[in-house]
Symmetry: D2
Subunit: 349 residues, 4 copies
């Protein structure tokens, strides 16, 4: 079988670099192009010395004509707005596109414009774009030309809350999510707030008060699952760790529930999911269960005093929250086993 | 002026050691006794090498007769149950007692027994014991023989929520607190869960579902402030840092409020507080503002989409959450300036 | 091709667990047995939650008769003394053995007894045991029944210094090695010195003054390379990180050398090495280039003022310093490509 | 007694900020001026939120005429070259100057120019400038108008090696120093190499091969102590911690020595030192003994196999390596007790 030729655009960023590493080792894919406009000509290994062995080893700037000859599938690990600028031409050129930015996740361009503070330049693709959550959307993904890979917070939160809202177990205006992310979530750009001296031994909330741009994406997924509009209270935080997101979500239960029963329902819903694990009663997941792996892990318990359910979910923001989920989508789009190229990732400690 | 002679019992633990360091440098106190039963005879500096210079330098086991001659005030940095065993005899001997354990914080012995899973052995002292929150209780503290120093989570959460509930601004059954603590909160005891290999780069929730023993303490304070019973949704987490607690608390607002107005009300309420700071609009506190300092810092914002208020509060669990708050209480009990002995603490980074 | 059936004894320790994870994903090996005496019956995933997906999932206690039917090759990730107790019977039973302990590395039982403070119980195997450094010993490894996998510090230091001493470039009594290891090097045993509160933000030397048990192993390798006896000044340190060793080695040069020339000689010597990389002039390796990967990276420079060469080498102590090097040896022993099962390991950050 | 009015120039940097915090709490000093050219008009607390309570709270740009009226002593926490530009005018204006940069430490302007790659603009002050190492120079410091506060690495290394070389115990061309510093040593300037994602869980050497600008300073001190020229092998490293330097220094002993005897000699030499502690036999210092404190701690042992002595020394680079040492010098210059204003600093953990 011929390998699928793959380009990664935005390979100088963290998600792009993880993608490059995974694709380089993928049994059915061949990494043929590392795009990075502002770093074109520089060596990939100067940015990512642990990946000195991968090929190609030099960033190139993108030329669509040339890309046509060198790739069949293109991952866009670009900042938002950059993806919607280039995606139409890539599709036009007959390439399949998996976009890791926020550009094609929201169905309503007005919502995009409100939260991303910029006009959408390719609204005609929003309907076609398939939201790449393999757990709930695998058939559409398999047919897609353009997949919008979910955001890191939305993957973590939606996998945690989808069962609750789709089963109608919770009061819809009581959902409160407290989410914590490692520093890689802020991207590779130089910033005073991500200096070691600022972050080490520190912890803080940011974008509190309902202003994080991932909120409409989570609400879109959960509203669809619930069958009516869901509003989320969402507070993101910055953890002094490199990788990982852990979200603690709570909601008022509409009726008395037992922890064990909820766990069983979650296990049933995710019984076919490749990389979602539900922990047993009394166990709660922690970052170390998932960082450097493609897994999302979810634990639950009921607070009977308050009749609240607490759902703790976590994943590696660069993998299940970005690169490895994108590869799950790639595998589905090409009919490969969904976990192809993703099994080796899992250090013990 | 003669210095007050001070004993610290439980000086081998983190809070006790911080207390010893502060008292050693206190202008109006003299450290005369370091109690630690199981480590009696060992050198304090073998446990705390950064405090090699303090005197006395050796742990002793406690004998109340002897203590009578050597101390006027006693700090109990003991595990719960140990404090209530010894406090009656210390008071009997004419010593003033500041207890950092949970033993004298709850007014109702039945509530104590439910949450701490043990019978209270000195319930006759519960009424007399003064809850040592200097911001709201300074007059009673000044008269007290026995002060119950608040818990670390309760200090952080109660200072954050007291204004909201006492002003009647929030729906009382919508309070959700997501709290995160550094590892020193788990105490000095050897444990698999606090090994470096378990904690570093990790993050997790624990005691989720309404089972943490600090819950009734917070509810007691807030119910009193509200004038009716408050139940809290409370999920604690373990941060990969040595020191610090940050709590993110949210509640539904009963009416439309502006962030700026809430901040003004908080500032007014804490205008006389020695070590509480309210951040300005758009600013949120972070651990680095408070660790290694005696301060609690609080920031607020309103999420208008959900009509929720988000309050972020933080402090150093070993200082404002334990030792320095105990010294504020000590200062009040002896008529010293409330910040005596606490001003030097504050590194820049 | 049938997969080789593999048992890992000591799978509850960090190196054993990494081995289990690698063998589980190895294309030509089948993990059939996880040995752990004191944890027999417990779930592997309770110790290593990131490896919940591997099979078998339960620790067993070792019975050699049974092992004979279930394994062809056995990795011993046991503490020293335990390996030499069991290895003779395993070999007797026709199994191939790769030992990660210190028991079969030293050729002279008297030296073993001096440094490990215990009598060697299987000295008759010391001659047969092949020192498992694939870079210099691959042919003997390919024929071996019993391979002694090198220690973590020795791998890092010997790969750094072997070229210098074998080429006769340095004064032999001027070798000074300052080595720094992450906390996993101390093993999984509960200890006061490896608590988060002790290690985080800390750094210290330990076993200084020529007493670390890895010293004779390094001196044995380097003396052989030099053709006469080498004594090393060696000071190990504990880094506040989970994984990784970095060694800074210096020696007086016997004659004037250029950095560039030394680098060329190193590159030539390691041109066939699977997992050794030499950095270019002006570049020095860092832990992030190698942790979570099977690579050792080495950089050099000459201090002309002092006529000293400085060699900086690093690796992941659990991989190239233990588990992945053991798998290199396994691959050589069975005629597989030396990097089989090791290519997927390499996150970008 | 009137307090001495003190200005801190370069108060936006880490050392300057620590100085500001210490001076604000100093019993005999009054902080009157926070200089920071490029940040003039900004709030000090926006840079250092833990020091929100200090006054003055706003950075100002420097005008010497104005400074004359507002300060008697000036600390220069400026980058090198900036100090030598302004120092002459400050002295001219009758102010006492304590300079924390490298500008006045080297006696020979040619050496300065070689290592700092720039011409010295005030060579006429080099003879007058007193090297501010209170342990060996207190009388001259007491008389000085201009004190050159030692560098962070030199303080740590010189205190460790001064006794050995001044007592003539070691071969002078065998001194090898392996030094490790926390990230604050790199200063506050935004840099790719000090981003959290680069530093966390990492460790590396830098400026290896005898090129660090602190080398001539160490050699100047040690050559003076030895009575002849000393050349040091010196390799600095970057630790993934905020604060602290630990140096491991070794040298060949000229004759057989016992660890205990050396320790006694060190203790004698430092018996009057305010903030130098020698650990006992078998103990080695670690960063946690000294960070956030004004102490330098030193431990020793002899490696009899190699006839080498190993000296481990450590300190907080922002305190004993910068700000608190500068305050020791200030205290000596004004006849205050040497530890004035420095006693409160010492958290337990």
């Amino acid at each position: 079988m011929n390998r699928v030729k793959v380009a990664v655009l935005g390979a100088s960023g963290y998600s792009g670099a993880e993608l490059a590493g995974i694709i380089f080792g993928h049994p059915y894919a061949e990494l043929t192009f590392l795009g990075a406009e502002s770093s074109a000509g520089q060596k990939f290994s100067d940015f990512y010395p642990s990946l000195k062995h991968i090929q190609p080893g030099v960033f190139e700037s993108v030329n669509i004509e040339e890309l046509k000859g060198r790739a069949q599938a293109v991952f866009l690990a670009l900042p938002h707005t950059k993806s919607m600028e280039i995606a139409p031409a890539l599709l036009e050129a007959g390439l399949k596109v998996i976009d890791l930015s926020g550009d094609f996740r929201l169905k309503n361009p007005a919502v995009y414009e409100k939260w991303y503070k910029t006009k959408h330049s390719a609204p005609e693709l929003l309907e076609e774009a398939v939201y790449g959550m393999p757990e709930f959307n695998s058939e559409k993904i398999a047919q897609a030309r353009l997949v919008a890979n979910p955001g890191c917070y939305p993957t973590c939160v939606d996998l945690a809350l989808w069962p609750l809202v789709s089963l109608g177990l919770v009061e819809k205006d009581t959902l409160v999510v407290d989410a914590k992310s490692g520093v890689s979530g802020a991207g590779r750009k130089l910033s005073a707030t991500t200096q070691f001296m600022q972050v080490d031994s520190d912890f803080c909330a940011y974008k509190a008060g309902g202003v994080h741009q991932h909120i409409p994406e989570m609400e879109q997924v959960l509203s669809l699952a619930a069958g009516n509009e869901i509003l989320l209270g969402f507070t993101p935080h910055l953890l002094p760790v490199k990788r990982g997101i852990l979200a603690t979500s709570t909601a008022k239960l509409l009726r008395v529930c037992e922890t064990e029963d909820l766990i069983e329902q979650y296990k049933k819903i995710y019984s076919n999911a490749c990389f979602v694990r539900i922990t047993g009663p009394g166990e709660l997941p922690s970052l170390k269960s998932v960082v450097y792996t493609p897994w999302c892990e979810i634990g639950l318990c009921v607070d009977k005093r308050c009749q609240r359910v607490v759902v703790v979910s976590c994943l590696d923001n660069l993998l299940k929250g970005a690169a490895s989920q994108a590869v799950q989508n790639f595998n589905l789009m090409y009919g490969f086993k969904e976990n192809s190229g993703l099994e080796g990732l899992s250090p013990a400690v």
